[in-house]
């Protein structure tokens, strides 16, 4: 059963159509990636799915409820961690809980037990500037997690990290998502990332952007999956599809 469903989304700015007739869905517990080159309308689609923008036509539903243009329902995470530099990690993480009206003490009681699982133990009272990029991104994920434990939208969440940190984050991330049964939809321009993290891949192409292909994918379970022949074959195929071959 689809938890998030978007149908026939179109959007234009100043007479220029950015995305056209896009329909996507996300099943419960599924990890789906949206792959495409820069400037193809990925972020516009993302803004519509998260309710920050209203589409010119089409609709977004979550659990069958129409949420088109309604923000504040799905979790949201971006390329930069967007941690507030003047708040400690603990205070950053509990922002969604406070916004929901919880008392600070209760929010902290809820958040602190998860710090070790997110690799942030002992970092509670540090400021973001004191943490490494990977740690900050984990803190940002924990914050998104408190925002919505149902649907998480991620806009190139690991692209600002260095290659080694990124790879470690991806495998950790996969584990966390599965354990908590999160349904995630993430945008990426990195074919490797899409192959490593998704149950299903949408390919966005054309001008205006539309879904050109939809592929099933099985997340590799072997060590160093990026070096297997199958992985490379898939990568070549997807790269060709992106380039419109």
């Amino acid at each position: 059963m689809s938890i998030l469903k978007a149908e026939n989304l179109s959007k234009s700015y100043g007479g220029r159509q950015i995305i056209s007739d896009i329909s996507v869905y996300l099943d419960k517990g599924e990890m789906v990636s949206l792959l495409g080159v820069s400037g193809i309308g990925k972020t516009t689609l993302f803004n519509i799915l998260s309710g920050l923008e209203t589409p010119d036509s089409g609709s977004v539903t979550i659990d069958g409820r129409d949420v088109t243009g309604k923000s504040g329902i799905v979790g949201y995470m971006q390329q930069s961690d967007l941690l507030l530099p003047f708040k400690t990690i603990a205070d950053n993480v509990i922002i969604p809980l406070l916004l929901r009206g919880e008392k600070k003490k209760a929010a902290l009681e809820k958040a602190l037990p998860l710090f070790s699982e997110f690799g942030l133990e002992g970092m509670e009272n540090y400021y973001p500037a004191q943490l490494s990029g990977g740690m900050r991104q984990r803190a940002a994920l924990l914050r998104s997690f408190f925002y919505s434990s149902d649907v998480l939208l991620m806009d190139e969440p690991f692209s600002a990290l260095d290659a080694i940190t990124r790879s470690a984050m991806q495998s950790w991330f996969r584990k966390i998502i599965r354990e908590h049964g999160l349904s995630t939809f993430f945008i990426t321009h990195d074919v490797n990332e899409a192959l490593l993290l998704s149950d299903r891949i949408y390919i966005l192409g054309g001008r205006p952007g539309q879904i050109t292909h939809q592929l099933p994918n099985s997340i590799p379970v072997t060590e160093n999956p990026e070096l297997t022949e199958e992985f490379l074959k898939n990568k070549i195929r997807i790269t060709e599809l992106i380039n419109g071959k």
Binding site: S50, G51, L52, S71, G72, Y76, Q78, S80, L82, L84, P85, F86, K87, I95, P96, L99, Y127, P128, A129, Q130, Y147
Partner: protein, 256 residues
């Protein structure tokens, strides 16, 4: 923490330069190049500063009180107006040119008018300081609100946060850097503004004292009070720096 020798040397440069100027000044006076009643020597100024210190202390108190009141009102008003102008665009459009206009008013020129309208008490002095300090504070705050990370603002909106929440959680903290820059300027404006307003009348204050010693041609005392005014401003600016460091503990971890 041990200070790096380089930073100590950097502080020595301006001190050495000031010492040189004072030495030249003293030499000029001793050699009789300038008539003594026109330019008292640094030694005489220092003597005046010491002998007049108790009187100057009392006058400083009055001036500082006026400056504090004027600056306090300016900061509060700037906060209120900056928030309103940030929240309602039409207020920004309507109010901004007017705020610029207040900055173009020559304070020395309107001071006599203010005395005429509001008498010799605190009121005209506070108004003059307000005219000088309000604009830098308003600009600092409006600029500070602009400094808020647009991604963070979007994040808050995506979580359905209201304006007041965003103001308190995001915009005000992001504006702190800019706020303190504005405060550093305004603090010195407030002291100078208080002195100027006192020139035109009043019962006490460094400006009143200044007028009094000028009229009696006691230029050594005149210089003493000028130096004291500068020192007071410098101390206040330093105080703002100290408050800023204490108020923004995360800053020391951020890379330049």
């Amino acid at each position: 923490m041990i200070k790096k020798p380089q930073s100590i040397i950097n502080k020595l440069y301006p001190l050495a330069f000031i010492a040189l100027i004072v030495a030249v000044w003293e030499a000029v006076c001793r050699l009789g190049l300038v008539a003594e009643f026109m330019l008292p020597s640094p030694g005489k100024v220092l003597n005046a500063l010491i002998s007049e210190f108790p009187a100057l202390l009392g006058h400083s108190r009055t001036t500082l009180l006026e400056a504090a009141a004027g600056l306090g009102i300016s900061v509060l008003a700037a906060l209120v107006f900056a928030v309103l102008m940030d929240r309602f665009e039409f207020l920004y459009k309507a109010g901004y040119p007017l705020a610029v206009l207040t900055q173009t008013i020559p304070t020395v020129a309107i001071a006599p008018l203010l005395v005429l309208w509001f008498g010799y008490g605190m009121a005209p002095k506070i108004i003059l300081i307000f005219v000088a300090c309000f604009f830098p504070m308003l600009i600092a705050l409006l600029g500070g609100f602009q400094a808020a990370d647009p991604g963070v603002l979007r994040l808050y909106r995506s979580m359905n946060a209201g304006y007041l929440r965003i103001l308190w959680d995001v915009k005000l903290p992001y504006a702190m850097d800019s706020f303190f820059s504005g405060l550093r300027i305004s603090v010195s404006y407030s002291v100078v503004g208080a002195v100027i307003s006192e020139w035109l009348g009043g019962n006490g204050g460094l400006g009143v004292y200044m007028t009094r010693v000028r009229k009696s041609f006691a230029f050594d005392k005149m210089f003493a009070v000028i130096i004291l005014t500068s020192v007071v401003s410098l101390v206040l600016i330093k105080l703002v720096d100290i408050i800023q460091v204490a108020a923004m503990p995360w800053k020391k971890y951020e890379k330049k």
